[in-house]
């Protein structure tokens, strides 16, 4: 590499969205080194799967989970990403583009992928804060915030986007009404019968639909307060989502003088009227057509990549697209011309009791359109016939019953599909491609197929077909509809089965469990190993030797790793009580080791932050010397026992809640649990220690103690359930130990008490603890395991255990 490298072609992409970034991927796969690439994106982050905004809004996915290209991807591919700065001008003479903050880049080739904008109907009041479209993550955040502070939502538009928005808002607890101007919902995808079924299904989910609604005005002074209809109806609204269609975002192209109709006009090679400028995605108009689904955009991405890299002179050919509504629990599919005309025949199947309606439209012995509602498992088969224009005259009698008709109905539909049948519409992945990948790479799970082929990686609605294909390809090796959640990708066995096998077959090491249960990986993964380590520890407390290699870093280091690689140290502060001597010792440790930050935690103790790994043993030694031990702030273990001042000081206190808390913490510290375990004791029902959102919460009363379980502060707040009312301190301890032990023995790893109790039911727990003999047996098993668990991990390590963890192997000067 001594010679000067030839200058690479400068490629600038405007629009960091689904079509543009897919085009870059296609370009990089053809010519990884030929371009120096700059991307301008108006949104301030990497690219994400816009389709999945609906599940994010519905609370089924996180933004992280739908991010397809994090910033690292750009870095890795040497792409300059200018995120958060929209381009405001293109100078075609000079071949430069300029962003809103003044950033200017030259291009040899320019790619426009600016997507589209939601149509905002110019009703009176449309500019009020709280009136939004549904297009990007910022819109989702606005809707989620509105659901926190307000109660009523109105969605204008009963198409795909509007209904997905309405579903999400309703799932966030909002009273949601959809206003639709046409007589039936989704009239561009559904026939009136299916639309009626859909309306009823939405009604069951609490979503009101008003059809033929003529919205007159949006009301409000500071922000939106309501909506009025032409017939005088008034609806209160804290947020109004306009989902009345999209319009290609062509402002920039138009200002630059490119030929535009409704969209930026492109030829079959995706070239605009300027030979240096291509366009892909929803911003384009191709042969008079506009686009609103990803499948055609991904196809365009391939064409533009072929052209830009000079790989081939391929042309974009429009194809039929299919639509699904991503509302969990509503199964529908629609494709092609589903309304028909005088020259078509309809074949209709209806099972009103099951809410199933299928309509097929046939012209000249060919299937030209289909709507499936309530049961859409065979959509790929129908879609294939539509796309290929198959002669269906021989099939006509049974066509409406799907591919398994006549086979007794139990053959999976995928079997009947030809290899060319498209399974994943978004990514254009065919049955043949998936089967080939399964065979070649010995794929066993949907996740593996997804990462190999991209099938089901976008909207996810074909997951079921991918599963069926796996079942078909693997035969008996694949459990088609796993009823149990498997421990991880290395096994199909569920948590309960693993725990049972450990006990029944007396399995005592991680490799033994993996062998007995047929693990597919040699030494597991970062999900299953910690789970197995915990299950073995719980089953064989006196025998099992903890495997530190199967512990998450925090539990291996006995401190919490921080984002900069340093650690935090939290000593136990029994029941939240400390003393001058302890505080002084902490202050000395902080000074001596120059610890940058000291903070009071939300768990009533003190956190020392920013400790380097090599300092840890010394810091611990000094804390130990002052009588302090590990607070297990890092562990799936007993964390804190918060208390209030109680009857010793408080004028309302009925019992000594502080002493009770300390007794609980002394009994339970050091115990490992499926997920973290927190307790609190309050001295009266004012509940200053927040006992009702703890895994085990105690509230003192005049006559004794009320015991509560399975509360959760955290991500999803859950208030505790009452477990029992008892009178003595010993009973509190007995119940606490017994409850912890059932949880330890029965819950799945990483399942906190709240979701566990939601899964098994509070009655199950009450029953397990109501019989005194059973309760004591549980308590005894807990105390037995505590004999081995209650050693201070800090003291062990300050004394030299695991020294290698804290020191470099070697240092190169």
């Amino acid at each position: 590499m001594n010679s000067i490298a030839p200058r690479r072609t400068r490629l600038v992409l405007i629009g960091n969205g689904m079509a543009g970034v897919r085009a870059l991927e296609e370009i990089l796969s053809r010519a990884p080194h030929d371009f120096s690439i700059t991307v301008f994106g108006a949104e301030p982050h990497g690219n994400y799967n816009r389709i999945m905004l609906s599940p994010v809004l519905a609370g089924e996915k996180t933004f992280d989970a739908i991010t397809t290209h994090p910033l690292a991807w750009y870095k890795e591919n040497d792409i300059e990403l200018i995120a958060g700065e929209p381009v405001v001008g293109i100078d075609r003479e000079a071949r430069t583009v300029t962003g809103a903050l003044g950033t200017t880049r030259r291009y040899d080739v320019l790619l426009l992928a600016t997507g589209s904008n939601p149509v905002i109907i110019p009703l009176p009041g449309h500019k009020l804060p709280g009136v939004i479209g549904f297009r990007d993550i910022a819109d989702v955040e606005t809707m989620m915030a509105a659901s926190q502070s307000g109660k009523h939502a109105v969605v204008i538009g009963g198409g795909l986007l509007g209904l997905e928005a309405a579903n999400g808002l309703a799932r966030n607890g909002m009273d949601t009404t959809v206003l639709h101007i046409m007589p039936t919902l989704m009239e561009r995808q559904l026939d009136p019968v299916s639309a009626g079924l859909l309306k009823a299904d939405l009604g069951r989910r609490g979503i009101k639909v008003i059809t033929e609604a003529n919205t007159k005005a949006i009301l409000g002074t500071e922000r939106v307060e309501g909506v009025t209809l032409a017939d005088g109806t008034h609806l209160p609204a804290d947020i109004v989502v306009m989902a009345a269609g999209i319009r290609p975002n062509i402002a920039l192209a138009k200002a630059a003088g490119l030929d535009c109709g409704r969209g930026i006009q492109v030829n079959d090679g995706m070239l605009t009227s300027d030979p240096a400028i291509y366009a892909v995605g929803e911003c384009v108009e191709h042969r008079g057509a506009l686009f609103g689904l990803v499948a055609p955009l991904y196809e365009m991405a391939k064409i533009v990549a072929d052209r830009v890299t000079g790989t081939a002179n391929s042309d974009y050919v429009p194809a039929v697209t299919g639509t699904r509504l991503k509302v969990t629990g509503i199964d529908m599919f629609s494709a092609g011309d589903f309304m028909g005309d005088d020259n078509t025949d309809d074949v209709v199947f209806r099972d009103a009791a099951r809410g199933v309606h299928k309509k097929l439209v046939i012209r000249d012995d060919k299937l030209i359109g289909a709507v499936l509602y309530g049961e859409a498992a065979d959509s790929a088969w129908y879609f294939d016939h539509i796309r290929n224009g198959t002669d269906i005259s021989a099939l006509r009698d049974t066509l409406v019953f799907g591919p398994s008709a006549g086979t007794g109905g139990d053959a999976p539909g995928v079997e009947a599909l030809p290899d060319t049948a498209e399974i994943c519409g978004c990514n254009g992945v065919s049955k043949g491609t998936i089967l080939a990948a399964i065979g070649k790479h010995q794929l066993k799970t949907v996740d593996q197929v997804r990462s190999r082929t991209k099938a089901s990686a976008s909207c996810g609605s074909c997951t079921c077909q991918v599963e069926n294909l796996l079942a078909y390809a693997l035969g008996g090796d694949y459990d088609a509809t796993p009823k149990v959640k498997s421990v991880c990708k290395c096994t199909s066995a569920g948590h309960d089965a693993v725990r049972r096998a450990i006990l029944d077959q007396k399995l005592k090491t991680i490799p033994a469990v993996m062998r007995a249960m047929g693990w597919t990986s040699r030494d597991g993964c970062a999900s299953c190993r910690p789970a197995l380590n915990y299950y073995l520890l719980c089953a064989w407390p006196s025998e099992y030797e903890d495997d530190s290699r199967s512990r998450f870093v925090n539990e291996r280091m006995h401190a919490n790793i921080q984002k900069d690689g340093t650690y935090s140290v939290v000593p136990r502060m029994w029941g939240g009580v400390t003393s001058a001597a302890e505080l002084r010792a902490i202050a000395d440790v902080v000074d001596k080791h120059a610890i940058p930050t000291v903070k009071v935690t939300g768990g009533q103790r003190i956190d020392l932050l920013g400790v380097r790994k090599d300092q840890l043993p010394d810091v611990w030694r000094d804390l130990n010397a002052a009588g302090m031990v590990s607070g297990h702030a890092y562990g799936k273990a007993l964390r804190t026992v918060k208390t209030c001042v109680g009857s010793e000081w408080c004028r309302f206190g009925t019992q000594d809640s502080t002493a009770m808390g300390i007794a609980l913490e002394r009994m339970t510290w050091g115990s490992w649990t499926p997920h973290k375990f927190k307790m609190a004791v309050s001295g009266c029902p004012r509940n200053c220690a927040e006992s009702t959102i703890k895994d085990f919460g105690v509230i003192a009363t005049d006559s004794g103690w009320d015991l509560y379980v399975a509360g959760n502060g955290g991500i999803k707040v859950r208030v505790t359930d009452l477990l029992a009312k008892v009178t003595t301190e010993d009973e509190v301890l007995e119940y606490a130990a017994a409850f912890m032990q059932v949880y330890r023995e029965e819950a799945w790893y990483l399942e906190r008490t709240a979701p566990w109790v939601e899964r098994v039911g509070i009655e199950h727990v009450r029953t397990a603890l109501s019989d005194p003999a059973g309760r004591r047996a549980l308590r005894d098993r807990f105390m037995e395991s505590q004999r081995f668990a209650q050693t201070d991990p800090w003291a062990d390590r300050a004394g030299g255990a695991d020294a290698h963890e804290f020191q470099a192997l070697a240092t190169v000067e």
Binding site: A72, A526, P530, G565, A808, L809, A810, V812
Partner: protein, 109 residues
């Protein structure tokens, strides 16, 4: 390493690294994480996750991969590549075993 001349440096014994574990070699430029697999092979990577620079030496080692402690990306030990669906790459460093000793290719100017 980058085409610069490297020397093989003896940095310790195989047994200094626990099976399915990792140790760090500090160098002036960066920390290098050495990994030992269950079947006693040794790999070396820069101790920096391609995602947000998590210390890979602190992760869980399984098969021929390590899971980053910060956000659980899985990085291949042999090639430093992030496993799908994540994308990114950590630099690898040549390493070999000789009579139970670990020799690491350390760049010299």
């Amino acid at each position: 390493m980058d085409g610069t001349i490297s020397v093989w440096m003896d940095v310790g014994r195989l047994d200094d690294i626990p099976r399915m574990g990792s140790r760090v070699v500090a160098t002036p430029a960066t920390d290098i994480a050495l990994f030992r697999t269950a079947d006693d092979r040794v790999f070396a990577l820069h101790d920096t996750c391609p995602h947000k620079a998590g210390k890979l030496s602190q992760g869980i080692v399984h098969g021929e991969s390590v899971t980053c402690p910060l956000h659980s990306w899985v990085i291949g030990l042999a090639d430093g590549q992030a496993h799908e669906p994540d994308e990114g790459c950590t630099r690898t460093v040549a390493v070999r075993l000789e009579d139970g000793r670990i020799l690491l290719a350390v760049g010299s100017a």
